[in-house]
């Protein structure tokens, strides 16, 4: 459907807005996400000395000062450069944690969906128990025990939040398991594992992508929160959460130190929420037009 065709008929405005809205959210979310990823990649490859060293001369430069687009911090380091350097940490931890959360969640959810009886009951009770504890509290406890760092943080966050993915994928998987073509596969003699891989997993893929996008946004915020509390990445490393944490003392004289990382966290979280909503809307639209 071309855009001008839609605009000529006001009656179509509703469907038009839904369609374009889905694309718009997905498009903007993906664009921001892509920019952030490229930025993270660039920050890993490029030396950014101004992120690590400054001088007293360059302390607390306001944003838009020459050479310091987003200003500088208490040690005279460029905030922009530090944001860039923090990107791989923040996004990397969120990405790893989301892969673990959604991966483990999918495996557990589909297993529970495919195997009624004891297996399902055990998984369900386990999920109920884990979900009863707030994920952040679990993460704080575990990190206090195992120490900080990229992987401890990513793995802990992933393992603390997978039950949510598992619940969603279980519900979706259960409804797919009851579809006639899955029953038909069973009666054809197709094994359960193969049936889950060939029929169920592809059917839950849209849900999986949506879960992934939302989990990513959550993980980003969780990483920042933990770093803010001093439980995240090592103090020597730079992450957005660390930057936010350090900015507390200079809130009055240098508010940009807080606003810059907070803005990035919000931007990235919103981007991945947009991606999630966009995928959800698109797959819903598809199933409607197919049915």
């Amino acid at each position: 459907m071309s855009v001008d065709q839609a605009q000529t008929s006001p009656g179509r405005l509703g469907t038009w807005a839904t369609k374009f809205g889905g694309n718009w959210m997905l498009g903007l979310g993906l664009a921001i996400g892509l920019l952030l990823s490229l930025g993270a990649l660039a920050a890993l490859l490029m030396p950014l000395p101004e992120a690590f060293s400054g001088s007293l001369m360059t302390r607390f430069k306001a944003p838009l000062s020459p050479g310091y687009f987003l200003g500088s911090d208490q040690l005279g380091r460029s905030v922009l450069a530090r944001l860039a350097v923090g990107m791989p940490w923040s996004l990397g931890i969120a990405l790893t944690a989301s892969i673990i959360a959604v991966g483990v969640g999918t495996a557990a959810g589909l297993t529970a969906a495919a195997r009624p009886g004891l297996t399902r009951r055990v998984i369900q009770h386990f999920l109920d128990t884990v979900i009863a504890f707030p994920a952040l509290i679990i993460a704080v406890t575990v990190i206090a025990l195992v120490g900080r760092g990229f992987f401890p943080l990513a793995v802990t966050l992933g393992l603390a939040t997978w039950p949510i993915s598992a619940r969603v994928i279980y519900a979706e998987g259960l409804s797919v398991m009851r579809r006639e073509y899955v029953v038909a596969a069973d009666l054809l003699g197709v094994g359960l594992a193969r049936s889950v891989l060939v029929h169920v997993l592809p059917a839950v893929r849209p849900t999986l992508l949506v879960m992934f996008a939302f989990t990513f946004a959550d993980m980003l915020i969780a990483e920042s929160a933990l770093s803010f509390l001093g439980l995240g990445v090592p103090l020597t490393a730079t992450s957005w959460g660390n930057m936010l944490s350090e900015s507390r003392q200079y809130l009055i004289e240098a508010p940009w130190l807080m606003l810059a990382p907070a803005g990035m966290i919000v931007l990235a979280a919103v981007a991945f929420n947009l991606i999630g909503d966009g995928i959800a809307l698109r797959s819903r639209g598809r199933s409607r037009s197919a049915g």
Partner: protein, 333 residues
């Protein structure tokens, strides 16, 4: 029994709908139908024939973005096409009643049967609550619902499919509409319940209203309808008295439907299917819509035949009717 007053006249009704991939398709093509008081017209067609589009149009329930409707729908002589939604709400349930395939979609699940009926009476007839309740009880009784007093308090989901369909019919009839539209009213029901509902429709519809019974099943139409219209890809292909159309069909599609359906009164053997597939929205339409599946089709069929009178009160749209027309206008066609 059949009066002469025409309660519903559909003239040159044409409906174009947008296709999801762009473009339009013609769901109904210049459909003409008349329903007289006391008569049930059967509209028979398969999936994709446009028969349900017709019921929606007569009920003012269209409103698909991008649709285009032309022609005339005259309810008791008054053109209702293009009425405002609020004017339609006044008409539906009073001048025109409806019975759908799935009564659950027609009955509000959180309202008791009694409150649905009473509300409809009060809205359209402006009666007080006590009188309305009496009217509602009578309505339930008239459709053969046992212990109507108890059923007034029941909710739709507490009733069986057959009883729900009876309630739906009571609701459709309660304000004495002149026209009833019944769209596949028995398709979701078991055979023995279907027979009950068909008996009920036959008994209750004919006495004061006129109706259209929309169905895919020639047998169902034969049980209830005095007249029959066969529709294929949005076009009426044959129309006439039911007994006559079934005994002497002129259109190959009507004959094809009869041959394809299994029957107890014929020797067992091979069924004669209609070749090909039913039309899909967006299929090219040029000439006779049935020609791609018709054994009699030739070059002449590239042009759309007119719906011509082939016998008294019997119309068929075919260049090669299955028997010689007895119409005095035959030479003119």
């Amino acid at each position: 029994m059949t009066g002469t007053e025409t309660v519903l006249a559909i003239e040159d009704l044409t409906v174009d709908l947008p296709l999801s991939g762009g473009g339009r398709f013609r769901a109904l093509d210049r459909v003409n139908l008349q329903v007289r008081r006391g008569e049930i017209l059967g509209l028979v067609g398969e999936s994709g024939s446009g028969k349900s589009m017709l019921s929606l149009a007569v009920l003012g329930l269209t409103g698909i973005a991008g649709e285009r409707i032309t022609g005339r729908i005259a309810l008791l002589g008054e053109d209702v096409l293009g009425l405002s939604p609020s004017a339609w709400r006044r008409l539906r349930g009073s001048a025109v009643g409806m019975v759908f395939q799935d009564p659950m979609t027609g009955l509000n699940p959180v309202r008791s049967i009694g409150s649905l009926l009473v509300e409809s009476v009060r809205r359209h007839q402006r009666l007080d609550r006590a009188t309305s309740k009496t009217v509602a009880l009578d309505a339930l009784r008239s459709v053969g619902i046992p212990s109507p007093e108890a059923r007034m308090k029941a909710y739709p989901h507490q009733l069986s499919g057959g009883l729900r369909q009876r309630v739906m019919i009571a609701l459709a009839l309660i304000n004495r509409p002149s026209v009833i539209i019944a769209d596949e009213p028995t398709t979701a029901l078991d055979a023995t319940i279907q027979a009950q509902i068909l008996d009920l429709l036959r008994a209750r519809l004919a006495d004061r209203a006129g109706g259209i019974l929309i169905t895919h099943d020639l047998g169902v139409a034969a049980e209830v309808c005095q007249r029959l219209a066969v529709i294929y890809q949005g076009t009426i292909v044959e129309q006439g008295q039911t007994a006559e159309v079934l005994a002497w069909p002129y259109h190959p599609y009507t004959q094809g439907l009869l041959d394809a359906a299994p029957r107890f009164d014929r020797p067992r053997g091979r069924l004669v299917p209609i070749p090909g597939q039913p039309p899909q929205p967006g299929d090219r339409r040029e000439g006779c819509p049935f020609r791609s599946r018709c054994a009699h089709a030739d070059e002449a069929c590239a042009a759309l035949p007119v719906l011509a009178e082939v016998a008294p009160d019997h119309l068929a749209r075919c260049w090669h009717p299955l028997r010689a027309a007895t119409s005095p206008f035959e030479d003119a066609v």
